[in-house]
Every structure is written in C-alpha cells, then in structure tokens.
Symmetry: C2
Amino acid sequence: MIKNLKRVLGEDIPEELYELLQQYSFEKSFDKKVLLSEAGADCKYQYFILEGSVYSYYVNEKGDKSVIELAIEEYWITDAASYFTGKPSVANIKTLEPTRALLINREDYDALCCAHPLFDRFFRILMQNALASLHDRILGTISEDAEHRYREFSRLRPYFVQRIPQYLIASYLGIKPQSLSRIRKNLFQK
Amino acid sequence: MIKNLKRVLGEDIPEELYELLQQYSFEKSFDKKVLLSEAGADCKYQYFILEGSVYSYYVNEKGDKSVIELAIEEYWITDAASYFTGKPSVANIKTLEPTRALLINREDYDALCCAHPLFDRFFRILMQNALASLHDRILGTISEDAEHRYREFSRLRPYFVQRIPQYLIASYLGIKPQSLSRIRKNLFQK
DNA sequence: CTGCTTTCTTAACATAGGTGAATCATTTTA
DNA sequence: TAAAATGATTCACCTATGTTAAGAAAGCAG
C-alpha cells in the first residue's frame, strides 16, 4: 500500500500520511478460498493485497458465475458500487491463495480523506487509473474476439496466467473454460 | 457542471469553487458530427455535456468501430487513458447532436485540483461513480446475453434509447445493428 | 416536393463460442 | 498411499450472433 502511495503521489510523501493510514486501516490475513464479502450484503472494505490473490465474481439469475476482477500483490479490490455508495453488493469476493491484505472500511475511508487532502488526491488518481484500465477491458470485450482477448491478457498480465486457474481467466475474459482450452490448443499449433 | 458539483459535494458549496471553475474551464459549442478528439492524438480535454450528445468509439485493426461511451446532458466524457496519463488516445470522440460542453484541459485540471482540495474530492467521487457504472457494464457484457443487455439498457437509460441511433446502441452493447434489430423484433412479439 | 443520405429491417447462410459428457492430470486430504 | 476434489482437455452437437446483401423508412438538403 505504501508502494501505491509512492507510485501515485511521488517518492517524498509527508510522514503524516503513514500515521494516518495506520490509524484508519488495518492488516489481516486469510486462508485460501475464504469469502471476504458476499453478494447481497454490504461490501464493508476495500482490500489492498499485500500478499496472495483474490477475485470477485458475480452470479446471475441463471446461476452462471462470472469473474469481475482478479487481484494479486499491489492490486486493490472491492465491490465499488456497494463500497462507495452503501448499496447491497452484487459481487462475491474470495481469496484464491492465502492472502494478507490492508483493509479500509467506508467510515475510515471517508475519515482518511477528511484527515488529509492528499488522500482525496491519492484515491482520485487511483480511481482514474482503475477507470482507464476498465475502459480497455470493455473495449476488448466488445470489439475483439476471445483469442485476441486472451493474447492481450497474457501479454499484459503474465503473472496472472501463471498463478490463476484457467477457468477463472476464461470467466474473466467472458468465455467458458472449454473455449479457452480450445483457443490455447489453437495458439500452440500455430 | 454546477449540478454535478452539487450532486456530489452537497448543496452548499463554497462560492470560491465556482470562481475557480470559471477560471480553469471554458464553454464551447459544436455542430453535430464534429470530431472532438481523434485516435492517435493526445486527448486534451474532458467534456461535461451541457446540452446535446456525444459519443466515443474505437476502431480496431480490422476496421470495426465500437462505441465506448455515450454521453448526454450532465454526463462527462473523455479518453481516460489518454487524458489522465498523457498517452496517445485510442478513442475518437464525436458529437452526435449540436452540443454545448464545458471543457477542462489536463493542466487546468491539475491546477484546479491544486487550487482547492474539494476538487480532488469532487473528481474522486466522480471517478468512483464512473468506476461503479463501468463495473456494471462489464458484468453485463461478460455474463448476460445481448437481449438481456438491451433490456437493461432500455430500463436504465430510456433517454438514450429515444435519442441515440440504434446502430450506436448496438455497438455500445457489443453487437451488430442487424442483431439488435432481430432482438427488438423478438421482444415486440412477446 | 424530390432526390439523396442515413438508418432500420429482413432473410439466408456462416461461424465463434456454448453445452454436456467423458476422460485425464494434478492437487489435497484422510 | 488411496480416495476425493479440483482443474484441464477433448469431442460431438447446438445456438446466438455475425455476414452479406437487399430493400424499406425516415430524415434532410436543394
């Protein structure tokens, strides 16, 4: 999380920020396959992953699961609509590996932003970056075929391909595991 | 734009904010079908639509166009990746109807945020909302079929359905105009 | 009003990706 | 180490959406 702060705000940050962060957040460790937040409930925290991996997924009326986000070290994850607005969440958030994360709840988040305006800035920029990367994802999803999306994903996130099971990557890309398997076979033959 | 400010920060805002906004932004009017920003170039402005409608689209290697965003009054639009980071943009932004918008360029945006910390907050929250709504869109795109997406779109954005040509809505939903036509026929028969 | 241009619809056919079921490989647990 | 989960692959068949092409409607400019 300190890394995120420095990356966004620059290397020399007021000492004060660290203290405030300590005050308004806490670390927690989880086993693998632990449900951190459940659809229907209020998503209480945003999670900055320090170690391990986490994903969020949505289950539609038909019962199909779709991966919304994948997060490893230095990523953050939450159900934005729920966390930021207080609405019931539509996403489930679950650890994949044993995970250590920094948690901030909504009240502390607001307090943090009121305690020092640089937090408003930090999170603004964090959101801007997230927005830009979501735009890219939408773009891929609506304008490229599955093979293209998989190739891009592998290129941009090789670490994910190594650590995350294929059926979750398939789901993240909007296809079924069988289809990803078929696509990979195809790619290897070329 | 004042409406956005009030919606996000509450009704009673320091007078100062209006003055700063005036200082660091300007209004401009455009005819319909005017290109505001072009792929490959630096996307210089973010646009708050005061009147009219605007959309952004991406053209992939094959030459297929895909609508990234649709914006009418009280929406804002830009190529986030380019505007926020300075990279060349991948999107084209074009007016659909004659449009009046408030423009903020990158330097003024930064200056605005430095001039008053409430702007950091305002834009943070703006980004959070955009993020939540993009998440919803991704969710729909990867986990629901086209008919479902169109029904949701019509339900959530009836104004768009009235004003925006169908072929752009189709593209926004990630399908071809012929498919949307087929889907609509199907829906009417039910 | 007339003749463009833009948008929408329809239809026949093609294809990427989904479905369901079986098998194999790998990891976890007892 | 055996048994049970879990994850990946393959295959035959199916379906939603894409493609190509044509014409109908609607909007607009002269």
